[in-house]
Amino acid sequence: MNPIDLIVEPLSYGFMVRALVTTVVAAVVCALLSCWLVLVGWSLMGDAVSHAVLPGVVLAYVLGAPFALGAVVFGFLAVGLIGAIRDTSRVKEDAAIGIVFTTLFALGLVLISVTPSQTDLNHIVFGNVLGVSVGDLVQVAALGAVVAAVLLYKRRDLVLYAFDPGHAHAIGLSPRRLGALLLGLLALTAVVALQVVGVILVVAMLILPGATAQLLTDRFSRMLLIAPVLSVVCATVGLYLSYWLDAAPGGLVVVTQGAAFALVYLFGPRHGLLTRRARRDGAAPPAAVGRVEG
């Protein structure tokens, strides 16, 4: 089979086209947000919120409300509970995060088990990108557009919040409000991404692109380009792999992104582990460099 067919053949199926578009949208939005999450140090929080939205999404389904609404409510509820437990008991923050998000996630699983039409809802947990309907796709695209627009509109304030919240406060901005904004966007993004990879793996799409981009540049504006491009390429490759290998698409998207991170971590031109080692070991004679590369 020639390479063109490898790329074109899957697109003769409507479900693959919808899957590809959904994956690309989710990859872009998650990658944009991930640039801030890794810099603020919210990876664990991203994990917690993306799991904790599950009961909100299920309840929204039951009540016929938009998934996004349920997700945002439970995202904030989770963060509120984590803060309350940390501040009013001797339990430390990481334990508080573990307690709140697993409990809410478990509550979501229980709600799924007692809600009729279980098949639909189980897709939230593991993702069902190959079964995305046109309606789902429209919702993902609309939410994704809103999140991306807000992120880009407020990007400088959010960078300031990540870099120096004390200065943000000192010049009359509200770090608390900026944090809440980022949190709301995180909950909405979780809804976008769970269509593709499911609740369990959302956090991967929310951390990997930003973390990888961080290793490739010293400029935030470039992170905002590198992360989405990388994320889209990996997600597309992952989706194609899943078609040709007949394996789980959500899993392969994340595995591909993880592999890209590993490559950059080891061989990245600036901060790669082996690159730095090679640089340190030499004023390396050209021959030695050739051997490393060969």
Partner: protein
């Protein structure tokens, strides 16, 4: 004190008390600084220096007492961009992907529209501030690629670009070599000569005479506020530190 100085205190703290639960961090602290002063804030770890700074910028709510900066409530002073803050080195992520110029531009954000897009005047102010602290050549470096002293100067440049009237510096000499320390001291003196007011929390007693006109000895309350020579007298330092302070100062 002349009546004029009373009217125009740049920093005015009255009876400030802050408790963390049962712990009293600040106990009735009062302090007045006239415009154009460089004042050292001296005290041990836990003496309340950081708490005082946080109360002045409004990050912490005091249990009682009041703060005025340039004659304004702290919230108003913040909105007007009167307060510049130079954080401790440990409080900054030096691997953060921002350039020196980006950091200084953050000083202008309070004056910019909702997207913080810089105008020509802002770029000019940032360039001038960078030149002022002699970092113009390094403006496009990532912030962590500067030396300890240069990093501090970048944050001072941010306060200059902000046109802050009151500059608060938290331990600016930690991890900074002697030459950079001297550069910083003369920079702050020049800013003060131009009418700005500078309050510097520091452990470094050796550097104090070159740095400041006056100093405050803090140990949860103000033990002494006076000229540097007076504050540095051993009997006064002993009250603040409880041990031979010059011994300890020379280690840092």
């Amino acid at each position: 004190m002349s009546p004029a100085a009373v009217d125009t205190a740049a920093i005015e703290v009255e009876g400030l008390t802050v408790r963390y639960g049962p712990l009293v961090a600040l106990d009735g602290v009062s302090l007045r600084l006239a415009p154009g002063t460089v004042c050292g804030l001296i005290g041990m770890n836990g003496s309340g220096k950081s708490t005082l700074f946080k109360s002045m910028t409004g990050l912490l709510r005091a249990d009682s007492g009041r703060v005025r900066l340039g004659g304004h409530e702290p919230a108003t002073a913040r909105r007007r961009g009167l307060v510049g803050y130079v954080p401790q080195a440990e409080a900054v992520d030096w691997a953060f992907p921002v350039s020196v110029r980006d950091v200084v531009m953050m000083g202008r954000y309070g004056r910019l529209g909702p997207t913080r897009r810089a105008r020509e005047a802002d770029r000019a102010a940032v360039a001038a501030a960078l030149a002022r602290v002699e970092l113009a050549d390094l403006a496009d470096r990532q912030i962590g690629q500067l030396s300890g002293g240069q990093r501090k100067r970048a944050f001072v440049a941010r306060g200059i670009a902000q046109e802050a009237e009151v500059l608060l510096l938290d331990e600016p000499f930690a991890g900074v070599d002697k030459r950079s320390e001297a550069t910083m001291s003369s920079l702050l003196a020049e800013l003060a000569a131009a009418g700005r007011t500078v309050l510097v929390a520091t452990h470094d007693l050796q550097a104090l005479p070159a740095l400041a006109d006056e100093a405050v000895l803090l140990r949860r309350r103000v033990l002494l506020h006076g000229p540097v020579e007076e504050v540095l007298r051993p009997e006064n330092l002993a009250r603040a530190f409880g041990i031979d302070p010059l011994e300890q100062g020379s280690r840092t």
